[in-house]
């Protein structure tokens, strides 16, 4: 016999240990959250997901509260709704009420939710006491304390998913902020600049310096899904394109649970894309002139030149005078083709791949 939890009158089966939020998600019952991520231990800190549970005096966070047999849960009562409005008004007063200012780059989940669930009114902005790290010299990630809601997604992600623990909740109470040890630059910590903190941030407090500088909000960019070609893993990435200028403004990762990389990227995939528009980038093959200079050529001409050169060396010095090294950016299939070329095409076992050592 299965156990059921009863959410808004719907009997929903659940696995032992599952939370109310997980059960509700399966039944497509929407419970709004700000500090939840499927990859992380729940924090229960934003209080957006509070629901009523029969027999419990206080509302409980659906993200961390475990489902139990025959538990009666209500997600649509006036008390639950009033709390959602309260939480959103709080966060708006404690960050930036003007959506256009808030969303100068990243979308703001609090404004999105406020549109759906409403607020308890526009409250006088709180005089904020959080500090940032204005002297952090890293080139990629910026922390803007005026937007931070202390959901701790970034610190939990850094710790639990990346196992890097470069950032932490620091200070207490109104002064609580996100910091590194001794407020050092990220580049002087264990940070690997994966940018996961930027990706999980629901408000743009953690953001990408270059994208903010570019000056166009994410919602005005077109997302183009592609495969990262920095290595063979096959991470899916979304190029965020300014279609008017035909430029990649930044790279984001698809949501967790949707692609092989589960929402994660590394420093190269997320940040190393400025070569695309760089003026020094080669866009056609070049071959060397007898005088030593380079000139543009077709692929056919360039490849002919390579084949002739390799064959001449092989004929003069023997087959094992050649060695082939493939790039760590290649897939398994490409590496297979490379060794085929070495062995079948040039008769040598001198084949290696740069990531193999």
């Amino acid at each position: 016999m299965s156990d059921f939890v009863i959410i808004d009158g719907n009997e929903i089966s659940f696995e032992p240990g599952e939370t109310l939020l997980q059960a509700a998600k399966r039944a497509e019952i929407e419970i709004p959250t700000l500090c939840w991520d499927p990859r992380l231990e729940p924090a229960g800190a934003c209080r957006m997901c509070l629901v009523e549970i029969e027999g419990s005096r206080l509302m409980q966070p659906a993200c961390s509260y475990k489902a139990a047999a025959n538990q009666v849960v209500r997600t649509q009562t006036s008390r639950v709704q009033r709390n959602r409005e309260f939480i959103l008004s709080l966060h708006l007063a404690d960050t930036i009420q003007d959506r256009d200012v808030m969303e100068d780059n990243n979308p703001s989940r609090i404004h999105e939710l406020a549109e759906v669930y409403g607020t308890a009114g526009d409250w006088t902005p709180v005089a904020k006491q959080r500090v940032g790290r204005p002297n952090d010299v890293n080139k990629f990630i910026s922390f803007r304390p005026d937007r931070c809601i202390l959901c701790s997604l970034c610190t939990r992600y850094c710790d639990q998913v990346e196992a890097v623990s470069a950032i932490t909740l620091a200070g207490r109470g109104a002064h609580t902020t996100i910091s590194t040890a001794d407020e050092r630059s990220l580049t002087d910590t264990t940070c690997e600049l994966c940018g996961g903190c930027v990706d999980v941030c629901p408000t743009g407090a953690m953001t990408e310096k270059a994208a903010v500088e570019y000056g166009k909000p994410e919602r005005e960019l077109e997302k183009v899904r592609t495969t990262c070609n920095f290595c063979g893993v096959g991470c899916q990435i979304d190029l965020n394109i300014d279609t008017e200028a035909n430029r990649i403004v930044k790279v984001t990762s698809p949501p967790p649970g949707t692609t092989v990389n589960d929402g994660n990227l590394c420093v190269k995939g997320r940040f190393a894309n400025d070569f695309v528009h760089h003026e020094d980038r080669l866009t056609t093959p070049l071959v060397r002139e007898p005088g030593g200079g380079l000139r543009e050529a077709t692929w056919d001409e360039a490849l002919d030149r390579v084949v002739k050169g390799l064959q001449a060396a092989s004929a003069r010095h023997g087959k094992d005078s050649l060695a082939f090294i493939s790039s760590s950016r290649c897939t398994g299939e490409e590496n297979y083709l490379m060794q085929k070329l070495a062995r079948a095409g040039f008769g040598t076992h001198n084949i290696h791949q740069c990531a193999a050592t």
Binding site: L50, K66, T124, A127, D159, T168, A170, R172, A181
Partner: protein
Amino acid sequence: MEKKGARREAILEILHDRGGLREGVSKEVHQETGVPEADIYGVGTFYHLLSDPDAGVRVCQGLSCKLADSDGLKARFDAEGKKSCFTACLGRCDMAPAFWDPDDEPPLVECALSPSSDAHAIDLAAADGTGYEALARATERGPDWVIDELEASGLTGRGGAGFPAHIKWRAVRNQAETERYVVLNADEGEPGTFKDREVILRRPHLVVEGLAIAAFALEAREIYVYVRGEFGRVKRELAAAIERARELGVLDDSVAWHLVDGHGAYICGEETALLEALEGRRGMPRMKPPFPVEKGFRGKPTLIQNVESIACVPAILNRGGTWFQEAGRTQPGSKLYCMSGHVVRPGVYEAPMGVTMAELLEMAGGVVGTLKAFSPGGASSGFLPADQIDVAMDFAALPKVGSMLGSAGVVVLNDTVDMVEAALNQAVFFEDESCGQCAPCRIGTQILRQMLERYLASGRDASTLEIVDDVSWGMCEASICGLGQAAALPLTSAMKHFPREFGVGTG
């Protein structure tokens, strides 16, 4: 993520020994313990005695000290060129205005007490015997008898929550897991409260005996005592009593005793925040359930009791649960009430549970001036007006009038007190001491304080207070722990009973 085998539990003590969180210290402690450097920084910055080691003399800005001109005291230190800062209630309300110098702990003067009486379970004025008869009786009759007597006594937690003690004891005892802990909460910090300090200073053997009985009844092999960081002498007295009990052969080596320092965070009086501190983390309360009786210290079944609760246990076993039950008037037991503020003899008075405020005032020598209001149980209990002095001071009657007994830290206010200023004082306290984890408390406490400041700055324009109801509703409904749930009460109760001072109505 910390490496397997990282010594997280040690980091707070090491930070303390290094003189606090100076630049470079987190790296050293990281190398020593294997805990990530950023984590150490995050933990260190949470506790004000570690995060600001050079702040100098701490001047109490608790309400009783404020009434006794702590601002003037601070100004005197400034004039003398002595470095000082304001801090939350130091638990020295009987010596208001109080201060604490970490390098030169000021002595505690003799606190006023109720005279010794046979009717008292703790009896602070009596000599602290080392007979340990209750422990002998417990070991002779067994754990079930101990817990049955506790049940008959009706003892409820004296830290503020008033939860029946026997339910916790039995719940820990009934766990299948045999690794269990007893934790004593001696992190006394509720503004207006200084009873646990006096219990340990005057009757340390009662506390040691109560803990030994708990460890015996629950078959726990380790006892942790978490003592507020500013209570150096209290910790030393307790350590001396444990040592004496060992010398007397009352305590054997089957149970390990650990005395742990707090490092400056009121929130660590909340039991799960205290556990986080013991485990070397930021003192942020945990989600409940699971409760500590099931998953507590190190994830194992844990009994956490307040000092006063544990000190009641020997009398309960010596004189019987029924005796204790009958020692109360409206609810079981005798109870320690801390009287401070505008009273003639501030001190700790033991009285039957349910004594009235009028009787307590008489014990403390009466009001200095004319009574206007009082706070029955620390900042978290809000304010009641003078006409409520006949309400029974217990866990049932006070909630009915919109307050609570809490820690029974009674602060008395005479008619010179501006209730707006009093509410602002409590608002500052809760904002300073919020852990910052959940949004309702972290942001709500800032909104309340800033709103009151705007009210005063605007020449008392009531429109600055119009969202009080919405904000206090949400703080009470949505905060994770009791701090945020209670933080709006000083303001809302002051507005309810003294509306005219807040520009509303004619009251």
